[in-house]
């Protein structure tokens, strides 16, 4: 797709997203505002995973951990009476980055199957940790004491919160775009494309991958902070390993190797889940095989489809 066409498509997408709140209130369907806002938050999380999975080739099966860490940072502070949103969210991002640094430092020395299993195991460890802390509700979780207080925006205003999330998504995509095309991004992508060649020209991928891992974790932590404010409920289920699988699917379905792909993937997966769960409570028995089929037949993802049609 030529840059001009791509800009047009992105612009349209942005317009559509921005139009949701007024249309939702026009037709008195706040549900859709809620749904799209939730999808956008997951899109941010999926976009962060795209950096390391789509561009970096690092199959991290533990990315949902950072949703949990971000969420818990906000939730725990609120539990103890600290409602300052800037402080909470800074802590959410910072803690996620720190945990990503530690997990990444150990995990990135491995690759392939080991890396998948290790990232999964570490996430499960954090999940168990979350469950075992009775103070914060154990495996039932707890209600968010109060939403984050941000200067100039009331998160209790559904519309205002919506636009905040939209702005965050746009910023994440914009910075992501610059990042993957920078020298740093090129190294990450080169290491995925041909690691031996990358070492042969004098680059050791480890530190770059670790940095990417930390950045991805931090951005996902932000998504976690947004998510807990959205759900108004804090639960270890944020970190459930099946959530990690969902994030991966969003990246794949959307098409790896494109910055905006995860947004499409998030929409596709979550809308599908929403539709299916409306039909039957056993929707996973349909979703499961659908996912299998999508992997077997549908490699390039939705963004790939669009690209092909318009070239």
């Amino acid at each position: 797709m030529s840059p001009r066409n791509r800009a047009i498509v992105l612009g349209l997408g942005l317009l559509l997203l921005a139009a949701v709140p007024p249309f939702a209130s026009l037709f008195n369907q706040p549900f859709y505002l809620d749904l799209v806002r939730r999808i956008m938050i997951f899109a941010i999380a999926a976009a962060s995973l795209n950096l390391i999975l789509g561009y970096g080739g690092m199959v991290s099966f533990g990315h949902a951990a950072y949703l949990g860490i971000g969420g818990y940072a906000v939730g725990v502070l609120a539990h103890y009476g600290v409602y300052d949103g800037l402080l909470q969210w800074a802590l959410a991002i910072g803690t996620s980055a720190l945990v990503a640094l530690v997990i990444g430092a150990v995990s990135i020395r491995t690759s392939g199957v080991y890396f998948i299993m290790i990232t999964l195991a570490f996430t499960q460890m954090l999940y168990y940790l979350g469950i075992s802390i009775e103070e914060f509700g154990g495996d039932d979780g707890m209600r968010l004491a109060a939403k984050s207080r941000l200067p100039g925006i009331d998160l209790n205003d559904a519309s205002a919160f919506y636009y905040l999330v939209l702005a965050a998504l746009v910023l994440v995509l914009f910075f992501g775009h610059r990042l993957v095309n920078s020298r740093f991004g090129m190294v990450i992508r080169a290491a995925k494309s041909n690691e031996t060649r990358t070492r042969a020209i004098g680059v050791s991928p480890y530190l770059y991958r670790l940095a990417a891992f930390v950045i991805a974790g931090a951005v996902c932590g932000l998504a976690g902070a947004l998510l807990v404010n959205h759900t108004a409920y804090l639960t270890p289920e944020f970190m459930n390993w099946t959530r990690s699988g969902e994030l991966m699917f969003m990246v794949i379905l959307g098409g790896m190797g494109s910055v905006a792909g995860p947004v499409l993937g998030a929409f596709a997966l979550l809308v599908l889940e929403d539709l299916l769960s409306g039909w039957t409570q056993h929707w996973q028995i349909i979703l499961g095989p659908l996912l299998v089929l999508s992997v077997v037949f549908f490699r390039r993802g939705l963004a790939g489809l669009i690209r092909e049609k318009n070239d």
Partner: protein, 334 residues
Amino acid sequence: MRLEIAGGLERFEGPGRGTIRAPFFLPPLNLILVLEQTLNGLQLGVMLFLMAAGLTLVFGIMNLVNLAHGSFYMVGAYLATYFYATTGSYLLGVLLGLAGTLAVGVAVELVALRTLYERDHLDQVLATFGLILFFNELAAMLWGRAALYTNIPEYLSGHVDLLPGLRYPLYRLVIIAVGLAVAGLLWFVVARTRLGMLIRAGASNRAMVAALGINIRFLYTLVFGFGAALAGLAGLMAGPIYAVQPGMGELILIEVFVVIVIGGIGSIRGALAGALIVGMVDTLGRAFLKPTLATVISPTAADAAGPALASMLIYLLMAAVLALRPQGLFPARL
């Protein structure tokens, strides 16, 4: 929904439900309790081995990452429970459960997994993830989401006096025995038979084995089915001890991953070593960490930190092994 490890099928003695209350651990050392938990660790280790062996065989030979391995564990548990309940015979339940799991494994391999052998690991992970959702929901549809509790037959219940003062549940001893027997059988098959030779050859050079005229597809199906049966065996043995419910497979699967990382992927020896280590560390950690902590920090702090730390123990161990020896303890020689 955690993997609960009961202190014994019946309460051994002492107050409370499953946890050990501090400060029993102060001198004199309760040797009996340590021995009992060691045996429990061995029992968990043996079950982890059954799962790990199947998973590592499939990966070593077919280069396939199968996340749905835990689903076979669950299928084994459910089928055995179901057949025991409908036929009234435990043995029949076991046999039909094993056969059923084998059949399910073969069916999955034929229908869903054939296309994945050539794909990269990411695709395999995602596709088998879809399978997990399918199986969990299927189990929920057939038997509901609530946990089922199975009985053990008369002749397997009861205790054995291993030492004066140490009464250990017979059923758990049987599990240990079965697990060790399977380990021995596996070693024999892989190291000493023609089939084992084929398996080892297939692991190091698939194309060559195929070129020699061996029906590689049949070999793969066989290996996969066998791996599924092993998982099913672990599941049906686990049924009476842990709860049988949708999602039970994934909880143990993640521990199996830890086993494989520690032991080294692609090796049966590694699977056994890793499984025993993880089984021991996890069981002994959960039993004794809190009381041990309570001797150095306050009981209330130990109460809060103990279980959390205990559940993290095997992952911390995994991290330590990774830091020192990233390829595991016994990498890649079947």
